[in-house]
């Protein structure tokens, strides 16, 4: 009808009247940003522990990543005696042992139950965290190396040396 009042347009964009009193002003918005920043900052503060120090502590018992230097005590305890025995065998017989069992019983009292062997003129041994520890007898590059999922490279240990053969 021509005389009817024109309907008011619906305003969906404006907030509902009951919500108007909760609308935040600039200061309240600034405080809200500070609260968010505080929570985010807290996570950022803990991120180094979550992503680096924590997993290292759980895996390796130390805060930093595994390095070849961490294998030194293990190699000194379990690898060096075997390499020394190999060198003594080679000095006395003039040739390299074909297998690690050749060292028994004269040069080596007991052979470790886990993977330790002689392959292609190298001493190879499984170490911690599924790493392979190798001793290369080649003159010039003689020494220990480690390779595995967490560490790779030369182990900072001097080449194994033995004394001269005992005179009879």
């Amino acid at each position: 009808m021509a005389g009817d009042p024109k309907p008011q347009p619906l305003d969906y964009r404006s907030p509902a009247p009951e919500k108007l009193k909760y609308l935040e002003d600039a200061e309240a918005r600034a405080w809200r940003y500070r609260r968010v920043l505080f929570r985010v900052g807290l996570f950022v503060l803990f991120a180094p522990f979550t992503l680096y120090f924590g997993p290292n502590l759980i895996k390796f018992g130390k805060l930093t990543y595994l390095s070849p230097a961490d294998f030194v005590p293990y190699v000194q305890n379990s690898g060096v005696p075997i390499v020394r025995a190999i060198k003594e065998y080679q000095r006395d017989t003039g040739h390299f042992p074909n297998q690690i069992h050749d060292l028994q019983p004269k040069y080596l009292g007991s052979i470790p139950g886990y993977g330790a062997d002689i392959e292609n003129g190298q001493f190879v041994q499984w170490g911690q965290f599924e790493h392979m520890i190798t001793y290369d007898f080649t003159p010039g590059i003689e020494g220990w190396t480690v390779s595995g999922p967490f560490a790779k490279g030369p182990i900072p240990l001097p080449p194994v040396t033995i004394g001269p053969a005992a005179s009879k």
């Binding site: 809200r32 924590g54 599924e130």
Partner: protein, 74 residues
């Protein structure tokens, strides 16, 4: 004066001392029932630090387990 729960501004002149947004009650004469500024109080900050520490520890453990599993091939 601000709500401890939702940080809304409180008006002590109103008849009912309730937060207009979350309806949490407060006592204008008791400072422990409201916040002087819209920011977490001391206890809530301590709570946030504790929960973040726990979340961080659990996440670090999960990451370590995944890395160890990936390294061993299992």
């Amino acid at each position: 004066m601000f709500c401890r729960k939702c940080y809304a501004k409180l008006d002590p002149a109103e008849e009912f001392h309730r937060c207009p947004r979350c309806e949490r009650g407060y006592d204008p004469t008791d400072r422990s029932t409201y916040l002087p500024r819209p920011f977490p109080g001391k206890l809530r900050i301590i709570w946030y630090v504790i929960t973040t520490s726990i979340i961080s520890l659990v996440a670090a453990y999960i990451i370590a387990c995944f890395q160890l599993a990936g390294a061993s091939g299992h």
